[in-house]
């Protein structure tokens, strides 16, 4: 009698349930972490009051504000889920749903913990699981990386629909910008992955990780591709410095200006889930996945429950380090202007990504696939880039426009005023103003 399911299905379902909970919990605490990191960077304290006493228990249970995500979640649920009058009601509700679904299913092909052996499992005499080897992976499909790329690009629908359905100019502009940004950065993202696949010769993330454990991490062979990939994943998950969709100073909240309560929370959760997925792909492609040098239990040959847990922890630690870097980037680097974001994609990353693919293909054709050879290729490409920058055509779009009477940008031949000339400013500073009543442009 054949079993109900094979070992792979059995393991996959367990991985799905467990990792889904880990990811949802991590997402909640990433928001806490982000607030803490931003607080330390800005010399504040951050959330430190909310504990697990829920306001009703007699004892005070502070816990450094660790109850904050729980309180946030409850509050999101209890707030009014408002739909503005002009909005397209169906699409307005659909948008956050379409945003969160790709974010929650993208990580299915991440190889969290190598492979394990599963024995026969009988439940009350019924043959439930057939014995066999299985990957510790959400779905052991042979399209791997392509699936992740496809799912990650579905997130753009939520943004576009959310911006359009709100019937708000800020939302609309934010949605448009975000759509343009996300689709632009998808191309170099695909190109950098192509460069890795050319060496790996497979699209299965588990095989790519095993290969890195054997031959050295791909960050050593492809530092340039890793940097491009990181930049693109920042832009894909709408993180600063590419978060023009929600540039507060220009667009209020961008595409989620009109959203409230749980529908807003879904947009918010999706951003953090995208960060986890992008970081997991980065770790799997460039940082050896679960492999850590000199720790035998993280080697693909190690099979068993213990090594599996160690591998998962190693993988997740790397993912968290990548996310922490994303957060530090967000709170230290100012937002890039919108047209410059698109220029970076179309003017730099896409030609460079294609150049990287061509260069890697030539290296593979010549059979030069050792780490040092690929590293030399990367260095040569980066050097060629640096030397060619002065030769490229420049557009002077950021010219300083001279203004009559300005202290900062005076007309040619005019003396730059070092002191305020406006009568109001002079009255305030108590210095007698010029009698001619000259009103400056500033």
């Amino acid at each position: 009698m054949s079993a109900l399911m094979n070992a792979q299905t059995f393991v996959s379902l367990h991985v799905l349930i467990i990792v889904l909970h880990v990811i949802l919990l991590t997402v909640a605490y990433l928001i806490y972490l982000e607030r803490k990191i931003s607080a330390y960077i800005q010399d504040r304290v951050g959330p430190n009051r909310v504990g697990f006493d829920f306001g009703v228990l007699p004892f005070k249970f502070g816990f450094w504000g660790l109850g904050q995500p729980l309180a946030d979640g409850i509050k999101f649920l209890l707030k009014e889920d408002y739909t503005p009058n002009g909005a397209d009601k169906a699409l307005f509700t659909l948008a956050p749903v379409l945003m969160i679904i790709p974010a929650l299913i993208g990580w299915a092909v991440i190889p969290w913990g190598g492979h394990i052996e599963v024995g026969d499992i009988y439940v009350a005499g019924f043959h439930l699981v057939a014995a066999g080897p299985a990957q510790v992976i959400g779905a052991n499909v042979n399209i791997g990386v392509v699936y992740m790329l496809a799912v990650a690009s579905l997130g753009v629908y939520g943004v576009t629909l959310g911006g359009w359905a709100s019937n708000n100019k800020y939302s609309f502009l934010g949605g448009l910008r975000c759509t343009a940004g996300m689709i632009s950065y998808e191309i170099p993202l695909g190109a950098t992955i192509l460069a890795v696949l050319l060496i790996a010769g497979t699209v299965r993330p588990d095989r790519i990780v095993e290969m890195q454990a054997d031959q050295g991490w791909f960050i050593l062979s492809f530092p340039l591709a890793a940097v491009f990939f990181y930049i693109c994943s920042l832009a894909e998950s709408n993180r600063a410095p590419f978060d023009n969709a929600e540039a507060e100073q220009e667009l209020v909240g961008g595409y989620h200006t009109e959203y409230s309560a749980m529908r807003f929370a879904l947009f918010f959760l999706a951003e953090y889930a995208h960060m986890i997925t992008a970081s997991a792909l980065l770790v799997a492609l460039f940082f050896g996945g679960y492999h850590v040098p000199f720790i035998p239990w993280t080697h693909p040959e190690a099979v068993g429950i213990g090594p599996m847990i160690v591998k998962f922890l190693a993988f997740f630690t790397k993912v968290l380090l990548s996310i922490c870097l994303m957060m530090v980037i967000r709170w230290t680097i100012p937002r890039i202007r919108y047209d410059q974001v698109l220029k970076l994609a179309w003017g730099a990353l896409i030609p460079l990504g294609i150049a990287l693919v061509v260069a890697t293909a030539l290296m593979v054709y010549m059979g030069w696939t050792q780490i040092w050879q690929l590293l030399l290729m990367n260095i040569a490409l980066a050097g060629a880039l640096l030397f060619s920058i002065p030769l490229l055509p420049h557009e002077r779009v950021n010219r300083r426009i001279p203004i009559a009477g300005s202290r900062f940008s005076p007309l040619a031949g005019e003396r730059a005023h070092a002191a305020p000339t406006h009568p109001a400013a002079l009255r305030e500073s108590g210095v007698a103003g010029p009698d001619d009543g000259l009103v400056s442009a500033h």
């Binding site: 399911m5 299905t9 379902l13 991985v15 799905l16 889904l20 649920l77 209890l78 707030k79 009014e80 408002y82 503005p84 009058n85 002009g86 956050p96 749903v97 969160i100 679904i101 929650l104 299913i105 299915a108 080897p133 959400g138 779905a139 052991n140 499909v141 042979n142 359009w164 709100s166 019937n167 708000n168 800020y170 609309f172 448009l176 759509t179 343009a180 689709i183 998808e186 191309i187 695909g190 190109a191 192509l194 050319l198 010769g201 497979t202 699209v203 588990d206 095989r207 200006t257 009109e258 529908r263 879904l266 047209d339 220029k343 030609p351 294609i354 693919v357 293909a361 593979v364 054709y365």
Partner: protein, 130 residues
């Protein structure tokens, strides 16, 4: 080694995960709609535009640049997707063999057509965003 076949049952977990994700999203949206308060109002229902009265609907024509960008995206993204099967198999052809040269030459020609498209679009000003 673990199984690496193309068994359709390997896609089953993705379906399960998709169902879980849909349920998660729908339950959250519905629960928040049921639990939260509901108070309507004429002013509350207007679009939030920083306190100004909205002048008109936001469903307006927008810059044609976004259409051009979407078209350019289609060209390049389809090209990248076409290259994936090649990238996954090229390493197995064998370095410096005749097959590999043919394989590489065809892909380089394919990329050349894309480069022509890129140069054309750049000359037409598709990538001028200011």
């Amino acid at each position: 080694m673990p199984p690496t076949s193309t068994d359709v049952s390997h896609y089953l977990p993705i379906g399960v995960l998709l169902l879980i994700a849909i349920t998660f999203a729908v339950v959250n949206v519905v629960a928040s709609g049921i639990i939260g308060p509901r108070r309507q109002g004429a002013v509350k229902g207007t679009a939030y535009e920083s306190g100004m009265n909205p002048l008109s609907s936001a469903r307006k024509r927008f810059n044609v640049r976004f259409y051009l960008l979407a078209m350019a995206f289609l060209v390049f993204d389809v090209e990248i997707i076409f290259l994936f099967p090649w990238a996954a198999t090229f390493a197995q052809v064998g370095a410096r063999s005749d097959d590999a040269a043919l394989f590489l030459g065809r892909v380089l020609f394919f990329l050349l057509t894309t480069v022509i498209a890129y140069v054309y679009a750049a000359k037409k000003g598709v990538f001028r965003f200011d």
